[in-house]
Symmetry: C2
Subunit: 89 residues, 2 copies
């Protein structure tokens, strides 16, 4: 089966987010001064083959822990959905 994993990676809430603070300032200078807080993270869509959803979940977790996320300062979460093999994102 082929699965589409949608992965969100963001800084942990306790970690300072200077990029988010810069976006707040930039928005403010453009007149969007109603914005109180911005957190910036990464988003990825990943297509993988796996025998079933549990196996896919285990593999994507391993990918996040090994390469995709820095688990010291970042948290991640993902969803999985089965997809036809030939579909493109």
């Amino acid at each position: 089966m082929t699965f589409l994993a949608r992965i969100h990676i963001a800084l942990k809430p306790s970690v300072l987010d200077p990029q988010g603070a810069a976006v707040v300032r930039a928005l403010g200078s453009l007149g969007f001064d109603e914005v109180a807080d911005v957190r910036v993270g990464r988003y990825g869509e990943l297509r993988l083959a796996a025998p079933d959803e549990d196996a896919a979940r285990a593999r994507v977790t391993a990918m996040c822990d090994t390469l995709l996320a820095n688990t010291i300062i970042e948290r991640y979460e993902f969803t999985l959905e089965p997809t036809p093999a030939e579909e493109t994102a």
Copy 2:
């Protein structure tokens, strides 16, 4: 009211994603060779004050069009949810 906007920004499907291709190669070299395709994008959580959800939607759309997304090569989508003003992400 205060709203939390969760914004996804990704390259349009027709645009080459070299960062995603690099992730596919890096995962393959780590043994994750079941991965067929990766698209990398940005994810942001933005807290803003607005009189109602329609107003918040209009403002976040304007922010994305003006600053957050490059609409020539990127597409964006977002969800809005009302939040207590004092909550932190």
